[in-house]
Amino acid sequence: MDQIYTPLVSVRNCRQAYHKDSSADLVVLDDVDLTLHEGEIVALLGRSGSGKSTLLRIVAGLLKPTSGEVNWRGSPLKGPAPGVAMVFQSFALFPWLTVQENVELGLEALGVGREDREERSEEAIDLIGLGGYDGAYPKELSGGMRQRVGLARALVVHPDLLLMDEPFSALDVLTAETLRTDLIDLWMDGKLPVKSILIVTHNIEEAVLMADRILVFASNPGRVAHELKVPFTHPRNRFDPAFRQMVDDIYGIMTRRKAPEIHTTTAAAPNPFSHPLHPVGTNMMAGLLETLNSQPYNGRADLPALSAALQFEVDELLPLGETLSMLGFALLEEGDLQITDTGRHFAEAETEDRKDIFAEALRAHVPLVTEIRNVIDQRSNHRAAAVRFRDQLEDYMSPEYAAETLRTVIAWGRYAEFFEYDEEAQQFSLEEDDEAEHEE
């Protein structure tokens, strides 16, 4: 240790994994390092499932990492530290407490006396622009006002470190922008009673707008793929070419990095159960392909521009783009989305033909669909329980991903008329045309 002063937080070789009996552990975070110094805003940027929120909770002392060390001001973290306060994506306000009571919550836990409490909460409420709302209940407030309460509640304890878990993603675009600029203004004026901010986001522009440093996360397993310093001074201008370039670069980083295999499969044949599918609807895909195929894109679109035009977050656009590229409808490269011939064909086809093209793409690129169809065909009653496929998926991914992948494959298979699904019995079956129904 050759440091002269101790950083606020230092995380070393942090790993978070869930043990599975049947196969290898599910790794959520792999070998992550993070150091936070006083006076900086750091953003953890990544897609959902990249483990950025998990890292935030580890830093908050809410979650114990499987291995690795977490130090808070030089000493190991054993639980929620007194100098850390958190702002939640869902606001996490207590609906039965008034604004003031919500704000005082953290002070009560510290055992601060009543008068002192009132004075400090008043201060925080005024600072964050909530004056006059003291006696209101959260449900009387708009989303933006609620998140202001969340902020005031965190600031009132004068934390050294403010943790923010996607604080603006539940808000509409305009409200989110107002809150962001208000927060940055307070930070620049030195009015925030905090020393450092760690913010989790999946919004690239938000990260470039607010942070001094950005850690870009990659998924499967979650890890830090890139670290960037943001050289701009506040207030930042979104339309500054250098700003745009940085956003573009990050799009490039996030699309270039293909998720590596969780398992190195020995055989050449792809394992139908090893890849999680994004829960992307067929209407969504069709809509994007049509948009891409028409003016002004004419088959090729810059992702940041597309994201702005469609009002899509990266978190929605990237899974969509990746799914299209997996199905061979489009190519995703260097932050651009390029339609393929199949994709163009699909976009221009009629409803029934679209189903055929989609079925063809599924057969070629999604081995899970083929596997399910094979199992149904082999059965004498042409029925197969969904649970066996879910179990096999769970050998390779978390139960949530397995359930999501299964739901997605059901929706796609139904659209392509590959098979039918009985939700009540949780069974796959063949279409009625193929197989006369015996039951009911």
């Binding site: 978070q16 994994a17 869930y18 043990h19 909770r57 908050a60 002392g61 809410l62 979650l63 114990k64 499987t66 973290l77 054993k78 639980g79 929620p80 007194p82 850390v84 306060a85 958190m86 939640f88 994506q89 869902s90 606001f91 996490a92 207590f94 609906p95 039965w96 407490l97 919550l105 953290g106 009560e108 836990a109 510290l110 055992g111 209940y137 959260p138 449900k139 009387e140 509640r153 304890v157 939700e423 009540e424």
Partner: protein, 575 residues
């Protein structure tokens, strides 16, 4: 209208093997109570000073007060039980494995069957004192209230929103602070609603538990129930009508002064992000909120509790959650082993007890009687459904009618049906009707209202846009019932039907045997079996009857209502 899932319908809980253990434990507990009691059952009754009951109506306000006091005392104990038992079950995984199945069994045990065991037990605890009899009565009321309150609280504790839990941990609330800031407020709407249902059901047991005869032990406590019992014995019809009138007034007061203000107040704790359209504020709540005197009293009480709730008491510091670590298998194993050992011991105890006094044909008789009662309950439910579903739907689709009828139905559900028995019994005696058929409706007099007000709630909650779609497509007649209305109200109907049929089983113990002066009417059934065994002090048969009835109730809940409800919820809701 507020609608909560009754505890018995709430999905899959825990593996079934624990249910078996729980059943054994509950049975052994009942037998243990009897064993303790049996030694005292022969002691002379003269030791208990029975206060004479006056049939003069001027005594009724005093009796009503005594009955109400018992009710609230029981409620107090139920709350304490709820806060401790349910919290333990929710916070400790291992305790929950055992405690929840036990609760599940307990709520299916017919409460009136308990009367024997508990009376004997409490009289033994306080020999020769009125205290024993009072406690026995309070305990019966407690058993009618506590289980569903505890269940409701447990369910709330297991569905606490993650973000609020994380917020309380990250702001480092102590476990005591967290309990009063998060756990209790979050559970409040469900708890208040269940408390109200419990209180409504409780009046029935207040009336039933005040005048009790077990073998040759007999007591009457001053109260409305005793008043009615004495009136029955003396064939005093006007007195019975006075009692009914008093009860109506009591329930009206309780409804207006407590029920409505509390429910309105508890909406503050509803976990929802949008402000709901609030109904008119009940006048009592308005009075409490607007009157300076009441308000300052309220603030004073609130201040005291606020200070207590803020104490930073904690059993342990809120630490990190270690999602990686798995519960120790060794401790789990030891725990299972211990449960198995206790269950086996209970089984051994039960077999020993039963084999010394009962034979196989006793079990056969009890089950046969159970089948009779089951047939009765089934027929009644069908008739009641045919009557109340059309009426309920008609009312529910008309907002104006709903506003008038809904409070009346809830009010009637609270009215102790046993007070209405005497006129019916009198009619049966007078017209020489067959008790096997005509005593049957008594079982459902009190509980049919649950069916009605749930159906009303269901029809009232039917979405407006769907009503418009139905009108637009000209859907009428049988098709309308089959495809639209019945699926639309199904979850509500099942909720009501479960409550009604459960209540009917319980009521069979007082409804299958009825008396008027020296006339005693007996119908064939498990209720009469238990009632007669109780009156004869034949404790082994009481145990057998109670256990068989519990099994019937559990069987119906598991085989019929729970799957039906799950099906209805899955199939009739979007998303």
């Amino acid at each position: 209208m507020t609608n909560y899932t009754p505890p018995a319908l709430a999905g899959q809980r825990l593996p079934n093997r624990f249910d078996g253990a729980a059943m054994l434990l509950v049975m052994a507990l009942l037998i243990a109570l009897v064993e303790v009691g049996r030694t005292t059952i022969g002691t002379p009754i003269a030791q208990i000073e029975n206060t004479p009951i006056h049939l003069d109506p001027s005594w009724l306000p005093y009796y009503a007060l005594r009955s109400t006091a018992r009710m609230f005392l029981a409620l107090f104990f139920s709350l304490i039980f709820t806060f401790t038992y349910a919290t333990l079950a929710a916070k400790s995984r291992r305790a929950g494995m055992v405690l929840i199945p036990i609760l599940d069994i307990l709520q299916s045990v017919p409460i009136l069957g308990f009367l024997t065991f508990t009376t004997v037990f409490f009289l033994h605890l306080f020999p020769g004192e009125v205290m024993g009899a009072e406690l026995a009565s309070v305990f019966v009321i407690f058993t009618s209230q506590a289980w569903n309150m505890a269940f409701s609280f447990y369910q709330s504790l297991t569905t606490l929103p993650d973000d609020l839990q994380e917020a309380s941990r990250s702001f480092r609330l102590s476990s005591w602070q967290r309990f009063w800031k998060l756990d209790v407020p979050f559970a409040m709407p469900g708890l208040v609603w269940n408390t109200m249902l419990s209180m409504s059901g409780g009046w029935f047991f207040v009336v039933a538990s005040e005048a009790v005869t077990v073998g040759n032990t007999q007591f009457t406590l001053p109260g409305i129930g005793s008043y009615v019992a004495v009136a029955l014995a003396k064939e005093d019809l006007p007195a019975i009508f006075y009692a009914i009138l008093t009860m109506l007034v009591v329930i009206l007061l309780y409804d207006q002064l407590l029920f409505r203000p509390l429910v309105a107040w508890s909406t503050k704790f509803r976990f929802e992000t949008t402000a709901a359209v609030a109904g008119p504020e009940p006048w009592m709540l308005k009075l409490l909120r607007r009157t300076a005197l009441f308000r300052s009293i309220g603030e004073m009480i609130g201040g005291v509790f606020g200070t207590i709730f803020q104490l930073r008491l904690s059993f342990r510091q809120p630490g990190q959650v270690d999602e990686t670590s798995e519960p120790s298998r060794i401790i789990d194993g030891a725990w299972f082993l211990m449960i198995t050992a206790v269950a086996l011991y209970a089984a051994w105890h039960i077999v020993g007890y039963v084999s010394s006094t009962l034979h196989w044909h006793d079990l056969f008789t009890a089950v046969l009687m159970g089948v009779y009662t089951a047939i009765r309950v089934t027929v009644l439910m069908i008739i009641a459904s045919l009557v109340w579903v059309p009426i309920g739907v008609w009312i529910g689709l008309r907002p104006k009618a709903t506003r008038i009828a809904q409070p009346i139905a809830q009010f009637l559900a609270a009215f102790p049906a046993n007070l209405l028995f005497p006129p019916v019994v009198l009619a049966i005696v007078y017209f020489h009707l067959a008790p096997d058929i005509w005593l049957t409706p008594l079982m459902l007099i009190g509980t049919q209202w649950y069916l009605l007000f749930n159906v009303i709630a269901g029809a009232a909650a039917f979405p407006g846009d769907m009503k418009e779609a139905v009108a637009n497509f000209h859907i009428h007649g049988w098709l309308w019932w089959r495809k639209v209305m019945i699926p639309g109200i199904l979850p509500y109907f099942i909720t009501g039907a479960l409550t009604a049929s459960g209540g009917a089983w319980n009521a069979s113990i007082v409804a299958e045997v009825a008396s008027w002066g020296h006339h005693t009417l007996i119908a064939h059934g498990l209720g009469a079996y238990i009632a007669q065994a109780t009156a004869a002090g034949d404790t082994p048969r009481v145990v057998l009857g109670v256990v068989v009835m519990s099994c019937f109730v559990i069987f119906f809940n598991r085989i019929l209502w729970r799957p039906l409800y799950a099906y209805a919820v899955r199939r009739t809701t979007l998303g």
